[in-house]
């Protein structure tokens, strides 16, 4: 019975959210507000638990280095006070500094040089490789901003935009079928958690 009730509640939430497609209404808003509270609760709990497991427990065990990130994390809350908000700049600086450092380090090789290397190697592997090479060279020319796209550059950009558009089409398709799967998943939920148990199947 508990599972049928769960299924019923879940189904009502699904219908409330889906009802937006027909018309904006109070049930849709209720569903959205509920998930807002639930997700913040889940995130808050899990992150506090993470601080406890991955920082407080090591500190208790004598690994005092973890005191620093805990203090930095707490300094973030100074943003709540207009006078003390500047203190939050310290943890932000560490977050941004480390984030930027690790990003730049890997980007140079992983997303620029290795991509160039692969493009060159592809060019000698056959027709498909040549197409990839042409695609990269021409599509990249679209991102040149200090020259007007006329003459040879203009032609290159026109070809490049076709490659970019095919790439965008593939993105669209991946997204569409993903959303379709999500809908099917929810229909399966309604069947398996509500309708079949209700019918005793």
């Amino acid at each position: 019975m508990a599972s049928v009730i769960g299924g019923l509640i879940g189904t009502l939430f699904i219908i409330a959210t889906m009802s937006m497609l027909w018309k904006d209404n109070v049930f849709f808003r209720f569903g959205q507000a509920a998930i807002m509270g639930a997700s913040v609760a889940h995130y808050t709990f899990m992150n506090f638990q993470s601080v406890h497991t991955n920082a407080i427990m090591p500190i208790m065990a004598g690994n005092v280095m973890f005191i620093i990130p805990v203090i930095l994390g707490l300094l973030m809350y100074s943003r709540l006070s207009a006078d003390l908000a500047w203190l939050a700049k310290y943890p932000t600086s560490v977050l941004v500094g480390v984030g930027t450092g690790v990003m730049i380090a890997g980007t140079l090789r992983g997303q620029i040089i290795d991509q160039i290397k692969q493009t060159i190697l592809d060019a000698f592997t056959g027709l498909n490789g040549i197409l990839i090479f042409i695609g990269v060279v021409t599509a990249f020319s679209f991102f040149i901003f200090t020259r007007e796209h006329t003459g040879a550059l203009g032609t290159s950009v026109k070809i490049g935009r076709v490659f970019l558009m095919i790439s965008l089409g593939a993105n669209f398709s991946g997204e569409l079928v993903w959303y379709l799967t999500q809908m099917i998943g929810r229909l399966m939920y309604i069947l398996n958690e509500f309708i079949w148990p209700l019918l005793g199947a």
């Binding site: 497609l21 027909w22 889940h42 995130y43 899990m46 992150n47 638990q49 993470s50 497991t53 991955n54 427990m57 090591p58 065990a61 690994n63 480390v98 984030g99 690790v102 990003m103 380090a105 890997g106 980007t107 090789r109 992983g110 997303q111 290795d114 991509q115 692969q118 790439s167 593939a170 993105n171 991946g174 997204e175 569409l176 079928v177 993903w178 379709l180 799967t181 999500q182 809908m183 099917i184 998943g185 929810r186 229909l187 399966m188 069947l191």
Partner: protein, 275 residues
């Protein structure tokens, strides 16, 4: 000339009919399965091969960034991957990088039952708790696992877990499986695992992220599963049936009204129909 509101009403009605037809199309195969076969793609075959070709007993780390809301898209991938790993007798370290991952992985292992493959927790597999690693955390993990995790998900010290005795950093890991749901996060693994250590990496992700992972395949990321369709393919190639088959079935009829509508809109100008 119709007003904006009239136009809105008319357009919306047309779309609502298509939507309803799509919904009906999805429902039918869920009740009367079609059971169509699937055809395998290269990134999925390579993904499978990476796991299958490892020597038995190799250590696989799974950077597990699952989201509960997106399980419809990824559950088939996950279940088939875990079963494949167990089939080949590899050891696994899951480390949870999103708030949902600990719950998702525990629930899935209840379904897959590692014990039925002769696995023992702590010796053959281990789950590390949630920590919001992000890109910097991936760097730290690769450098020194214990700088991020000192215990497993149950609070047992890593030093007391047999599997973790000799594994301190990336050098103890033979293959990384990177699970992510924000398409650009594939860059993290390229930057923090592939560039500095040239570590073999395969990825599991959403359908929309596949085209964005493709530029890194097959040299930087050796294989990837993108979307539930790839999950279904892995079920087939690994011989481990799962929830992907039913999903695939429902897609068949669910997408048809959309395709017909696109076709109709393209034919319309030629038969003189109004916009």
């Amino acid at each position: 000339m119709a007003t904006a509101k009239e136009r809105l009403a008319k357009t919306t009605r047309f779309y609502q009919i298509i939507w309803a037809l799509c919904l009906i199309g999805m429902f039918i195969p869920l009740i009367y399965p079609l059971g169509l076969p699937v055809v395998l793609s290269e990134p999925v075959k390579d993904y499978y091969k990476q796991i299958a070709d490892l020597p038995e007993g190799s250590v696989i780390a799974v950077s597990f960034g699952a989201s509960a809301s997106l399980l419809d898209e990824q559950e088939a991938q996950f279940l088939a991957t875990w079963k494949t790993i167990f089939d080949y007798g590899h050891k696994v370290i899951w480390y949870c990088t999103t708030e949902d991952s600990p719950i998702v992985i525990r629930n899935e292992l209840e379904v897959v039952k590692p014990e039925s493959y002769g696995y023992t927790y702590g010796e053959d597999y281990v789950i590390l708790p949630y920590s919001p690693l992000g890109e910097a955390g991936e760097t730290a993990f690769a450098l020194n696992i214990r700088s991020i995790y000192t215990t497993d998900i149950d609070g047992t010290s890593l030093d007391a877990i047999p599997l973790m005795q000799d594994i301190n950093d990336q050098s103890g890991i033979d293959l990384l499986i990177f699970e992510y749901t924000a398409c650009t996060s594939i860059e993290w693994v390229v930057r923090q695992w592939v560039v500095p250590y040239n570590k073999p990496v395969i990825a599991t992700t959403l359908g929309c992220c596949g085209p964005m992972a493709a530029p890194y395949y097959p040299t930087q990321v050796q294989g990837f599963l993108s979307g539930s369709g790839a999950g279904t393919e892995l079920e087939v190639v690994s011989g481990n049936p799962g929830p992907g088959a039913a999903m695939g079935d429902a897609k068949n009829l669910g997408i048809l009204p959309f395709l017909v509508a696109v076709l109709w809109m393209n034919v319309k100008p030629f038969i003189g129909k109004e916009e």
